[in-house]
Subunit: 115 residues, 2 copies
């Protein structure tokens, strides 16, 4: 399956106490043949957020649509369509959507970060 | 530099005999702290193409805008905005833009594939 269409990829709601209004797709990972990393797509609804947390792996991000806030070690960055971001290992970080449209972005992690 | 804006990233024209109408940006790689891989953005103008070639590393792709053709081991795939693709190691592949708008996509490779 060398090409995957966005709308063909299953979208799962993330259920966790510190996650609000977030869905996830996994377009490319181990199943597609990528050994090292996994490319996920997260969509945060207006008012939603990912957990504020840290871990010893990096995030590589591309903003697909909308805009949101990415806080890294206490510093807030507004990010919008076509921006790129790199969250270093061990940085405390959170994505939030205080705006009125869905905020959608690619988030690549080493496979041990996708569980 | 945790966030990079698309329009702030230098765009280089690729000059090679088997490359037509292609520019490259490097939003995230070793310089930004990503050890293993490099995230590049290629833009192919109408009528342009990347080389038909193969190598022992994979490509991980996301189509940012426009549409184009991705041929993998003789099989042609039309790809367009929001599609994902995985080109396996050692596959003969080429991107072409026979359409009338710019075709732009993310292409992630192991660092040894970015030179």
């Amino acid at each position: 399956m060398p090409v995957r269409k966005y709308y063909d990829i299953e979208e799962k709601v993330i259920n966790a106490s510190d996650v609000v209004g977030v869905t996830k797709k996994i377009p490319i990972g181990k199943n597609e043949g990528w050994d090292g990393y996994t490319l996920r797509v997260f969509k945060i609804a207006p008012g939603g957020n990912t957990p504020k947390h840290k871990h010893d792996w990096e995030h590589v991000n591309y903003i697909i649509s909308g805009k949101g806030k990415l806080t890294i070690d206490g510093r807030e960055h507004e990010v919008s369509q076509k921006d790129f971001a790199f969250v270093p290992p061990n940085a405390l970080h959170q994505f939030q959507n205080p705006f009125d449209k869905d905020f959608e972005f690619i988030c690549i992690v080493p496979n041990r970060g996708e569980y």
